[in-house]
């Protein structure tokens, strides 16, 4: 079975640390991910609000390209960004459920010599790590267990709903299981799947930043060292607006927000730079026992 990697635009810019840490962790687990050549933007949520069929066609081109790499076998396409993950799943589903969409996509693809037969399986890295790699192999790869580290796992919206099947949409546990396998403690909290405000943090600030603030506030109340995220937009919102949030809501908001892959990589002893730690605005807070133990591999 072939596992291809679909980065999406964010993992090449604001979410670069997600790509760096993801690829490093998968390489350490000897589960290489190969980037889908010639990929294009998935269309995200914005395209859907302007032109739905074009949005589906954009996403479908990536599916058709991925399928070509399978030599007749199903291909797994790993999409770490929550929006890409959702859009690719939605396109597959709606192509089948809504005939006019399926027809428009097939016709358009055909006009440029492409075809999609439905042989691609869209996977989130959390899903692949739990179901394909398995917690046993991950435990075996942990060289620096995260003892004493307390983490709030934040899944956000589109990784777990409405199309995902690998975890529970109300109380997902895959990230918790993964980080516990790395030796960390994870907290039970009510904000796991609450919206971070998405694009609203930049467009309608009071609405968007209020969302992010409520999540950080709940995490701070539980005394965690860090919030772990699985989406580039969630990470950006929760980390980069802490200054404005502190002023707006008269609170001292300070919380490490890292990609779950960075935290897993840390437990595997991968070095800071490989994991893109230098790109974080707020360094990953670590319990004293873990400090000074990182080494280059």
């Amino acid at each position: 079975m072939r596992f291809l990697y679909y980065p999406g635009c964010s993992l090449k810019s604001s979410g670069r640390a997600y790509e760096e840490s993801l690829l490093a962790v998968f390489a350490r687990l000897q589960f290489p991910l190969e980037e889908l050549p010639e990929w294009n933007c998935c269309g995200a949520t914005a395209y859907m609000g302007i032109d739905e069929k074009k949005a589906f066609v954009l996403a479908a081109r990536n599916l058709a390209l991925a399928e070509q790499h399978g030599d007749g076998q199903p291909v797994h396409l790993v999409a770490p960004c929550a929006a890409c993950y959702l859009v690719l799943l939605k396109t597959q589903k709606y192509m089948v459920e809504y005939k006019p969409i399926g027809r428009a996509i097939s016709d358009a693809l055909k006009s440029v010599g492409l075809k999609y037969r439905g042989q691609v399986k869209i996977r989130h890295p959390l899903d692949v790590l739990i179901k394909e790699v398995g917690l046993e192999r991950i435990r075996a790869a942990v060289s620096r267990p995260l003892e004493g580290m307390k983490i709030a796992c934040y899944y956000g919206c589109q990784v777990v709903r409405p199309f995902a099947e690998f975890d529970d949409p109300h109380d997902p546990m895959s990230m918790d299981d993964l980080l516990r396998a790395c030796g960390a403690e994870t907290v039970d909290w009510p904000c796991k799947v609450r919206c971070c405000g998405a694009m609203l943090t930049g467009t309608v600030e009071e609405v968007g930043q209020r969302r992010s603030y409520m999540i950080l506030h709940e995490a701070m109340r539980r005394g965690v060292d860090a919030v772990a995220t699985a989406c580039p937009l969630c990470q950006f919102n929760l980390e980069c607006f802490q200054g404005p949030m502190s002023r707006r809501y008269r609170d001292q908001v300070e919380m490490s927000v890292a990609y779950f892959t960075q935290i897993v990589g840390k437990a595997m002893g991968l070095d800071e730079r490989t994991l893109g730690m230098h790109r974080l605005f707020i360094p990953l807070r670590q319990p004293p026992a873990l400090l000074g133990t990182s080494h280059d591999c």
């Binding site: 635009c9 964010s10 810019s13 604001s14 010639e38 739905e52 492409l114 919206c195 609203l200 974080l280």
Partner: protein, 198 residues
């Protein structure tokens, strides 16, 4: 009493747009609109309904009744962040997020969207960027959006922009698509020229 304004606060049937609910329900995912039992679960679960002029429940009711103007000019459709909570929780299985998308598209088609409200401006900038290059560039799109909606805000954003640049999290140019870039353009051109697919 001079200056006393008398204004009717209800609409009568002939003032409503009877065709509107059908046009919305024709869009993918929105067909189940008519199954709504007005329980309000969508409004309760929506993380931003406290800021909306019409809650999602009211949007559904008013769409069905034909209140086209009110619905298309509401801030609700532009505050929906596509978190899909309502879609997952709706006891009748109505894909409310898709209904919101359908209303966004209609608002843009009918030019009923607020011209300087950042959300539709951002969506349009994103659309054009991807149309041109096949990929988005968050920094560029956000900058143009701020310039078009609230140029003064750009000054406030400079520290964040610089920090992102230093950390290598924003680039001034868009990473090029490798290989057959023409293919994507042809694909989107095909959609433009084959209106029967719309």
């Amino acid at each position: 009493m001079p200056g006393l304004q008398i204004q009717r606060r209800v609409k009568y049937q002939e003032e409503l747009d009877a065709d509107f609910p059908r046009r919305v329900a024709d869009m993918p995912g929105a067909a189940d609109l008519n199954r709504c039992i007005q329980c309000g679960t969508c409004s309760a679960t929506c993380p931003v309904s406290s800021f909306m002029d019409l809650t999602p429940r009211r949007v559904v009711a008013m769409t069905r009744a034909g209140f086209k103007e009110e619905v298309l000019r509401s801030n609700t459709i532009w505050l929906c962040a596509s978190c899909y909570s309502c879609t997952v929780e709706c006891p009748k299985g109505i894909k409310i997020t898709d209904v919101m998308y359908a209303l966004k598209r209609l608002a843009i088609q009918e030019r009923a969207y607020p011209r300087h409200f950042p959300t539709p401006v951002l969506a349009r900038e994103f659309f054009h960027k991807v149309r041109q290059t096949g990929r988005s560039n968050e920094g560029q799109i956000a900058t143009v959006m701020i310039l078009k909606t609230n140029p003064l805000k750009l000054l406030r954003q400079i520290p964040l922009g610089l920090k992102l640049l230093v950390k290598g999290r924003m680039s001034l140019w868009t990473e090029k698509m490798s290989g057959n870039k023409r293919q994507l353009q042809d694909l989107l051109d095909y959609m433009d020229t084959h209106k029967e697919l719309r």
